[in-house]
Symmetry: C2
Subunit: 205 residues, 2 copies
Amino acid sequence: MITLYDYLDSGNGYKARLLLAQLRIPYRYVELDIMRGETRTPEFLAKNPDGRIPLLELEDGRLLAQSDAILWYLADGTEFLPTERYERALVLQWMFFEQYSHEPYVATPRFIMRHFAADSPRRAELPKRQAQGRDALAVMERHLADHSYFVAERYTIADIALYAYTHVAGDGGIELAPYPHLRAWLARVAAQPLHVGLLDQPPKH
Amino acid sequence: MITLYDYLDSGNGYKARLLLAQLRIPYRYVELDIMRGETRTPEFLAKNPDGRIPLLELEDGRLLAQSDAILWYLADGTEFLPTERYERALVLQWMFFEQYSHEPYVATPRFIMRHFAADSPRRAELPKRQAQGRDALAVMERHLADHSYFVAERYTIADIALYAYTHVAGDGGIELAPYPHLRAWLARVAAQPLHVGLLDQPPKH
């Protein structure tokens, strides 16, 4: 059985949990508390020198880091990843957009607001990050004005990657009201078969 | 002929230029001056709503953004991208590492030091970014202590993605002296057939 090293509140980890559920793949879940340094221990750094979750461990012990690389590995050969070359590249385009232009500005404000007190100096980062987060949501809104999903007019791992932190952007002080096409897409994603929520406990095995 | 919209000093654009040269693919080069807002015009935003270079335009007009997605599209089916499923996922793992944990901390200091005056408030970002950049180089150094390249013990687009800004990290005040394995890998990459430099003028067509 594969193992997912993760932290339940992580949207990056949630990407893997959501796809594993939709692929009906059983897995062992190992939770590490990132707030207590459990991803910076010598044991974990031996598995992932970058010291981050999620980390996928295959049955034979091979390891794979980076949430969107994990999505790609699990989805390849399934309905969640197109087979046509250009469409596959577009899936990657949106996943790199997510990690570069979206995650630091939509996920990080949420992390700061959930884990740092109102008087923490980290809160000073919020206005600039939130503004860049709104820019990222505006790019998504513009795409979704003409499209039902991000690639190939169907639900793929590009949608999973972008859904993970977008649907909880409000936790980081970024309201979704100004983005009607985006909100309709969030509802389409949440209505997919076998959908699970970010904080749903993974199945026990 | 394909078209690459780019800015010569961009390491992200350089990734595409290097691979295009090594694949012997001719292309039309359109330079946009990001310092003069040429990627934020209505004309360019119609092509890439994210307003960034590099952007690849295929012969039939289809568009592809994000440097590492462009690398994947161009390399698929060539010697620069493995065919085995896990190795392909590892290529993505390192490319997502590059965009998330490396580029903002190795490339951005270079950008700030090259484009903003010594008294610019942007310079205040440097110490923290440089420290995180050194963390990223330490992760690479640790991998390269036991490996000749990032994936499959051969030169792939994972190496191109990481080489682009690593070899000019010094421009951003991050010295490479503490990383001997990394420096040996840089030399191996630079010795690949048909290698071109970051600031080499693209061929005219």
